[in-house]
C-alpha cells in the first residue's frame, strides 16, 4: 500500500529514509521519524484495535501516551512479546513487526464482536451481577471464564532476554516534560548554575513546539527556538537531557523514578545496550511540565475508527506529514481545534465543516479559520457517525435555545476530529500526594498546595497561550533554582507572536436527537464505558467517583483516565445533581504509564538477585561433585555423593566415616566476631547465659545467647585468645543479627564498657576435621602446638602454624568425636584444605556436608538454633539449664527466665524419639499425640524437630519438643505420617556416646 495520506512535504520525518514494517502481518512503508501510529495513518489505516469488552473496531485517537485504542503487541522474537504498547509512542524501525490485540481471527473480522450485539447484557457491574449465583458455579465455570476474558494483549511466554539497567542520579532541578514550559524551566534553572535533569516521554524534546507551524518565539519559528534552547542545554555539562524517558513515579522526599527506553526504537540494537534504564532520581526541586490533554466529545458512536482528537490531527499533520483524512469534519467546543482546521486546509485537506457547540464562536483562531474560507457552524453538534470499520459520515444537529437538537443532515467525511477542551495533566502532582482543587474559571482540577518541593508550570496547572506558558516556565525554573542556589538569575523571557490561548471547552455527554436507549456515547474507550453506564451506576447507588470508577471501570485504563475522567465526572455530577467538586476526583497513582517488569527488576534477577556467598573451598567441593544447599546467602556443601550414590547413601557413608575414621568439613560460613578490650570478659559474661569471667586464656566455652524475653537467639563457641581478646563464633544465619544485637547493647546500655566488636567472619577460612583419626591427620602439618590431650584438651584453642600459615586452632566437636576447627586467613584456606585433605584421604577419610553434620550432632542431642528452637524456647526447654550460670548477677534475658509462663509445668521439652519400626523416618514438623487417633481438636503434645537415619544406631531417630517431655521417658506416643499415626518411644535426646568419652579422647 502506498502512503496515500502523506503530505507532499514537511514534518520532522526523514523522507529520504524509508522504513518497512508490518502490522498484523501486512507490509507497510513509513519514514524514519514516524511512529507506528503516524505511519499507519499515512497509509490510510485508522482501524488498529478491538475494544476490551464489546470488541468494537477502534482507531487511533490520540498522538500520545494517553492513547486508549491503538494498543499493539511487539515481539522481536518468539516468546518475547511486549503487549499494550501505545502505537503513538512506538517508533518504527526497519523490520518492526506489530500486532493488533483483542481480536480473533482478524482485526476486520472479529468473532468477539458478538459481545457488541449482546451489549445490553454487558452493563455496568455486569460481572458482579452475573457471576454471583449459583455459588457452586464460581470455581468451575465463572472464574475460568473471567480469567480467559481478562487482560488485554498477550503476555510473553519466555523469560525476558533483554537486559535492564539501573542508574541513581541526583540533581538540583528535575524538569518533567520538555514542551515550552519545561524547556523554559530547564533553561532558567540551568542559567542559574543548577544541576538539571530534563526528561520527556517522547522521542524528541520540544513537546507542542514540534508541531507549532505558526507561532514565533524571539522572532524565530517556534520549532527553531526549541532547537536552539535544546542545543544550549545540551552544551551545558550540568544538564542531563533524557528523551524517551517517562517520569512515571513521584515518591516521597522528591524521589522520582524515570523509565528510559534505550533500544526499543532501534532496528538492530547493540546487545551491549540495556533495553531500558530505571533512573532513580533524588531531586532537590521538581518542575512538573506535563502539559494538558485534550478531552474527547461524548456523542453517539464517537468511537468509530477515523474519529480522532483535533490536536492529534494537527500533530500527525505537522510533525509527521500524515493526514487523518482527506475530507474532515471538525467537532469542537474549543478554539484550539480551529488551528487544526487551518493547518489541514493549508495542507490541502478538505475541511468540510467546523461544528462548534457554542452559538457564536469568535476570536483570533475562529477568524483565522473563517478567513481561510472554512465553513463554520455554531450551535452545532455531532449526533452520530456512520461507517463500518471507518467513519464515512457524521450526523450533525442544531442545538436550539431550549437545549433540544434538530437534525441538520449528514456530512460525508473520512475523519472526524474533535475537541472538548483541555484537561490539565495533574497526574504527577497527584502522585506527589498533592490535593487537586477544582477551579471554576478554568473548569478543571488544578494542582493545589505543594506537598513536596515541586511546582507545576504551563498548561498542567491551567496556564495556556504560548507567551504565558513560557513566562510561567521561566518563572518555575528560576524559583526552583532559587530554592537550591543563591545565585539564581532572573531569566529574560522571549517575546512570542501567535500561539494565543484558545477559549472554550465542554464536559460530559452532548445533547442529541437520537433514541437514548439505542445509542452509545463512549467515555472510556479502552474499557468500553459509556455515558449510560455511568448514569446506571449512579442510579444503582454509587455516588462517590471512587465507587463509580470501580463499578464501571471508567478511568482504569492504561492512561488512568487522563482522557476520560472529566467527562465521567461531569456525567455523574449531572446525574447526581451535585457540583463536580462534591463528586470528587480519583487519585492518580504510580506508574504514570505502564512500566515493564524488567525496568523495575533492573539487574536484580537470576544470579545477581542476591549476592551469592561462596567460601574459599567452594570450588573444591564443586570438583568433588558436592550438592549444595542455601544457608542465608551462603552456598554450603550439603553432601558429597559418589557416583551412583543417593543422598541417603552418601550421608550414611559420610556419617560412618567420621565416626570410624575422620571427616573434613568446611565451616567457614560460621559467623565470627572478635571481642577485644579490657572489659571483654565482663561484656561476654553479660550477653551469654554461661559464666565467662573465669574462662582461661586458651580455653573454649560453648555459650547460649538469649534475647530480652529469655528465648534462645543464638549459640556458638567462644575462645579466649588473650586476656582481653575473645574469638566468638555464631551460627551462619545469625551472624549479622548477633553482631547488631551486641553492638546495640554496647552503644545503648553499656557505653561505659571498654570493649569493641569487629566482624571477622570473612577473615578466616575454617576447616573442621572430626573423627578418631583427626589428630593424626593434622599433626604432621602443625607447627608450634602440642596437640596431646594433656597439653591441648577438648575445648581449648592454640595459636601456631599449619602448613606454614598462621592459625587459630580450636579443639572442639560438634559431632561427638574428637576434632579440630582450623582457622586460617581466608586467602590461605584452600591450600591448607588441600594439605589436610591429602592426609584425610590417605587414612580413608572423607569430606562431609551439612546434612552429615546435622545427623551427627542430632545423634549427640546437640540443638541447632532455628531447628530445635523457634524463638519461644528457653535453655531449660532444650535441656540446657546446665549452660545457665546460677551464680551470675545478670545476663541478657535472665530476669525473663523467672517469668511465671517460663517456670510453669507443661512446657515443651527436648526429647529423643525412636519409632517402634526402626525403618520409619519421621517427617520433621510432624505432630506428636498421646493416642493414635485422637478426637478432633485435641491439641498435639508437640512436634518432631529433627529426624534422620542414623548409621551409628543402625536405625531411624528423631528429636522432638514435647510437653513435659522429660517426664515421659519410656512412654509410647504417636506421630502422624502420611500413612497414618506410628507408635514411638520417648527416650533421651543423646543417642550416641552419652558419657562423652569420645570427643575428649
Amino acid at each position: 500500500m502506498t502512503q496515500d495520506f502523506r503530505t507532499s512535504a514537511g514534518g520532522r520525518i526523514d523522507r529520504s529514509s524509508p522504513v518497512d514494517f508490518t502490522f498484523d502481518g501486512k507490509a507497510y512503508r513509513g519514514f524514519a521519524g514516524d511512529t507506528l501510529a503516524s505511519a499507519l495513518l499515512a497509509n490510510g489505516i485508522h482501524l488498529v484495535g478491538r475494544s476490551y469488552k464489546y470488541h468494537r473496531p477502534r482507531g487511533i485517537i490520540t498522538a500520545g501516551s494517553e492513547e486508549p485504542n491503538a494498543l499493539v503487541g511487539i515481539a522481536r522474537e518468539k516468546g518475547q512479546n511486549t503487549p499494550n504498547l501505545r502505537a503513538p509512542q512506538v517508533e518504527i524501525y526497519q523490520g518492526l513487526n506489530a500486532e493488533s490485540q483483542n481480536r480473533y481471527p482478524s482485526l476486520s473480522f472479529d468473532v468477539g464482536a458478538v459481545n457488541d450485539l449482546l451489549s445490553p447484557l454487558f452493563v455496568a457491574g455486569f460481572y458482579y451481577k452475573t457471576f454471583m449465583w449459583p455459588r457452586s458455579f464460581w470455581q468451575k465455570v465463572y472464574e475460568p471464564f473471567i480469567r480467559s476474558a481478562a487482560g488485554l494483549g498477550k503476555a510473553p511466554t519466555d523469560p525476558d532476554k533483554d537486559r535492564y539497567a539501573n542508574h541513581y542520579a541526583h540533581c538540583d532541578v528535575l524538569v518533567i516534560g520538555s514542551g515550552p514550559a519545561g524547556l523554559a524551566a530547564a533553561t532558567a534553572a540551568a542559567q542559574s548554575g543548577a544541576r538539571v535533569i530534563l526528561c520527556d516521554e517522547q522521542s524528541e524534546l520540544g513537546g507542542s513546539l514540534l508541531h507549532d507551524r505558526t507561532s514565533a518565539v524571539d522572532g524565530k519559528p517556534a520549532v527553531d527556538w526549541a532547537a536552539d534552547a535544546i542545543r544550549a542545554l545540551s552544551e551545558n555539562d550540568k544538564v542531563t537531557l533524557l528523551p524517551r524517558t517517562t517520569g512515571f513515579g513521584y515518591y516521597a522526599q522528591n524521589f522520582v523514578a524515570l523509565a528510559e527506553r534505550v533500544t526499543d526504537h532501534l532496528a538492530n540494537p547493540d546487545p551491549r545496550l540495556p533495553r531500558e534504564r530505571l533512573w532513580q532520581v533524588r531531586a532537590k526541586e521538581v518542575v512538573i511540565a506535563t502539559g494538558a490533554i485534550e478531552r474527547p466529545l461524548v456523542f453517539p458512536e464517537n468511537d468509530r475508527p477515523g474519529v480522532m482528537m483535533a490536536e492529534a490531527g494537527r500533530i500527525y499533520l505537522n510533525r509527521y506529514g500524515a493526514m487523518a483524512g482527506k475530507r474532515v469534519v471538525i467537532a469542537t467546543a474549543c478554539d484550539t481545534a480551529y488551528r487544526t482546521a487551518v493547518d489541514l486546509k493549508a495542507a490541502g485537506v478538505d475541511v468540510a465543516v467546523i461544528a462548534d457547540l457554542r452559538p457564536d464562536p469568535a476570536g483570533v483562531h475562529v477568524d483565522a479559520a473563517r478567513s481561510a474560507g472554512i465553513r463554520i457552524e455554531g450551535a452545532c453538534v455531532v449526533t452520530g457517525t456512520k461507517g463500518r470499520l471507518r467513519v464515512k459520515s457524521a450526523r450533525l444537529g442544531r442545538i436550539r435555545p431550549d437545549g433540544s437538537v434538530t437534525a441538520m443532515g449528514e456530512e460525508a467525511c473520512d475523519s472526524l476530529l474533535m475537541s472538548g477542551g483541555w484537561t490539565p495533566n495533574v497526574s504527577l502532582y497527584s502522585q506527589s500526594r498533592g490535593k487537586v482543587a477544582w477551579d471554576e474559571d478554568a473548569g478543571a482540577y488544578l494542582p493545589g498546595a505543594s506537598v513536596q518541593h515541586e511546582r507545576s508550570a504551563g498548561s498542567c496547572h491551567g496556564v495556556f497561550g504560548l507567551q504565558a506558558v513560557l513566562e510561567d516556565g521561566y518563572a518555575a525554573g528560576e524559583n526552583a533554582a532559587r530554592a537550591v542556589t543563591s545565585a539564581a538569575k532572573r531569566p529574560k523571557v522571549p517575546a512570542v507572536t501567535g500561539g494565543e490561548e484558545g477559549a472554550g471547552g465542554t464536559l460530559g455527554a452532548l445533547p442529541h436527537d437520537r433514541d437514548p436507549a439505542r445509542v452509545r456515547a463512549f467515555i472510556d474507550f479502552q474499557n468500553d464505558v459509556t455515558a449510560k453506564d455511568v448514569k446506571l451506576a449512579v442510579r444503582e447507588g454509587f455516588h462517590s467517583i471512587e465507587h463509580i470508577k470501580r463499578y464501571t471501570t471508567t478511568g482504569m485504563a492504561t492512561d488512568q483516565g487522563r482522557l476520560s475522567n472529566m467527562n465521567a465526572l461531569s456525567v455523574a455530577s449531572k446525574t447526581l445533581e451535585k457540583p463536580i467538586p462534591q463528586v470528587g476526583l480519583t487519585t492518580f497513582r504510580q506508574p504514570y504509564t505502564p512500566v515493564t517488569f524488567g525496568t523495575f527488576a533492573t539487574t536484580a534477577r537470576g544470579e545477581a538477585f542476591d549476592p551469592v556467598r561462596r567460601t574459599p573451598m567452594h570450588d573444591w567441593a564443586v570438583e568433588k561433585g558436592a550438592e549444595f544447599e542455601d544457608v542465608s546467602l551462603w552456598k554450603r556443601a550439603w553432601y558429597f555423593p559418589k557416583p551412583g550414590e543417593s543422598m541417603h547413601d552418601a550421608v550414611a557413608r559420610e556419617c560412618a566415616t567420621v565416626r570410624e575414621s575422620v571427616g573434613i568439613f568446611d565451616a567457614t560460613t560460621l559467623g565470627k566476631i572478635e571481642v577485644v578490650g579490657p572489659d571483654a570478659a565482663e561484656f561476654l559474661n553479660r550477653v551469654y547465659t554461661n559464666p565467662f569471667l573465669k574462662l582461661g586464656v586458651g580455653r573454649l566455652r560453648y555459650g547460649i545467647m538469649l534475647n530480652e524475653a529469655g528465648f534462645i537467639m543464638d549459640d556458638g563457641v567462644v575462645g579466649r585468645i588473650a586476656e582481653e581478646r575473645f574469638h566468638v563464633t555464631t551460627t551462619t544465619g545469625g551472624a549479622p543479627r548477633v553482631l547488631a544485637h551486641l553492638e546495640d547493647y554496647l552503644q545503648t546500655e553499656w557505653p561505659d564498657l571498654n570493649v569493641w566488636l569487629t566482624s571477622t567472619t570473612e577473615q578466616w577460612a575454617v576447616i573442621a576435621v572430626q573423627g578418631p583419626k583427626a589428630r593424626d591427620v593434622i599433626a604432621p602439618l602443625v607447627e608450634g602446638i602440642d596437640l596431646s590431650t594433656e597439653s591441648m584438651p577438648h575445648m581449648s584453642v592454640r595459636e601456631g602454624k599449619i602448613c606454614g600459615v598462621p592459625t587459630r586452632l580450636f579443639r572442639m566437636s560438634f559431632t561427638g568425636e574428637a576434632g579440630y576447627e582450623i582457622n586460617v586467613p581466608a586467602s590461605r584456606g584452600r591450600e591448607v584444605w588441600d594439605a589436610v585433605w591429602n592426609n584425610v584421604e590417605a587414612v580413608g577419610g572423607a569430606p562431609y556436608g551439612t546434612e552429615t553434620m546435622h545427623v551427627l550432632r542430632a545423634e549427640k542431642g546437640y540443638i541447632i538454633v532455628g531447628q530445635e528452637t523457634d524463638g519461644t524456647v528457653v535453655p531449660d526447654d532444650v535441656g540446657m539449664d546446665w549452660a545457665v550460670g546460677k551464680k551470675k548477677a545478670d545476663f541478657i534475658g535472665m530476669r525473663s527466665l523467672a517469668r511465671p509462663d517460663i517456670v510453669v509445668a507443661g512446657r515443651k521439652q527436648l526429647v529423643g524419639v525412636l519409632t517402634n519400626d526402626p525403618k520409619v523416618i519421621l517427617e520433621e514438623g510432624a505432630q506428636v499425640t498421646a493416642e493414635a487417633s485422637p478426637a478432633l481438636k485435641t491439641p498435639a503434645l508437640g512436634y518432631v524437630t529433627s529426624s534422620y537415619y542414623s548409621s551409628a544406631l543402625g536405625r531411624s531417630m528423631a528429636l522432638a519438643m514435647i510437653a513435659d517431655g522429660r517426664g515421659r521417658m519410656g512412654d509410647t506416643l504417636y506421630v502422624s505420617t502420611a500413612e497414618g499415626a506410628v507408635a514411638v518411644e520417648i527416650v533421651s535426646p543423646v543417642f550416641y556416646d552419652a558419657e562423652g568419652g569420645k570427643q575428649v579422647a
Binding site: 539487574t603 545477581a608 546467602l633 569493641w756 567472619t761
Partner: protein
C-alpha cells in the same frame, strides 16, 4: 594527595573492566587493621603508621604507604602496603599498649577494587545511590554504603579514582554488576 596510593592494581590479575573511559581492577593485597577505641588510641596508632588518623567524620588521611579511613566515631580502618600482617599488627598494637582499644587484623576479610576514569562515578551510580558530585562527595571522602545489596566501603582517592572494599564473598556479586553496567560503554 600523594601521587602514589596505598592501593595499586594487582599486577597478577587481568583488569575486570577496560573501556576507553573507565577501568576496574582488583587491588593488590594489603594489610588492613580495624581499630576501635577513643581518640587517644587513634593518636598513638597514627603515630605508628606515619599517617594521623582522621577525626572528621567520613574523611581519610594518606601517607606514602598507608591510609586511614574514618568509619565511625570510634572506628577506623587502616590500610598499609606491607607484606607481613603480623608484624604490622604487633607494631601498631604495641604503640597503643597503654590505651584501651581494639585492634583486629582484617587483611583477609576484604577485597578492594580500584575504579578509575571519567565514567567511574557513573559506573558506581549503577548500584550506589550516593551523589558523587564533588561538592557533595569530595576527594578523600570515605563512607560505608550499599552497592546493590552488598555492604561496601567506598573511598574517593581522586576526582576520577574510587576504591571500593567489600567482604570477600560479596566481591563476585559486585564485580558481576560492575561488568554488567559497563557493557554499554563499549557499545557503538
Amino acid at each position: 594527595m600523594p601521587e602514589k596510593s596505598v592501593y595499586s592494581a594487582n599486577a597478577h590479575l587481568s583488569p575486570i573492566v577496560v573501556t576507553s573511559n573507565v577501568r576496574v581492577e582488583e587491588a593488590a593485597p594489603l594489610v588492613r587493621l580495624s581499630l576501635r577505641g577513643g581518640e587517644a588510641a587513634a593518636s598513638h596508632a597514627g603515630a605508628s603508621i606515619g599517617a594521623p588518623l582522621p577525626l572528621e567524620p567520613l574523611t581519610s588521611t594518606m601517607a606514602d604507604k598507608a591510609a586511614a579511613f574514618w568509619l565511625g566515631p570510634d572506628e577506623w580502618q587502616i590500610a598499609i602496603q606491607e607484606g607481613d600482617a603480623t608484624a604490622v599488627f604487633e607494631r601498631v598494637e604495641t604503640a597503643m599498649a597503654d590505651t584501651p582499644h581494639s585492634l583486629v587484623d582484617v587483611s583477609e576479610r576484604n577485597r578492594a577494587l580500584i575504579i578509575s576514569g571519567p565514567k567511574a562515578a557513573w559506573l558506581l551510580n549503577s548500584q550506589i545511590f550516593l551523589d558523587f558530585d564533588e561538592a557533595v562527595f569530595p576527594v578523600g571522602m570515605v563512607t560505608r554504603t550499599l552497592f546493590g545489596k552488598a555492604d561496601i566501603m567506598l573511598w574517593r582517592q581522586s576526582e576520577d579514582i574510587f576504591v571500593l572494599e567489600a567482604w570477600r564473598s560479596f566481591m563476585p556479586y559486585v564485580i558481576e554488576l560492575l561488568q554488567e553496567a559497563s557493557r554499554e560503554l563499549e557499545a557503538a
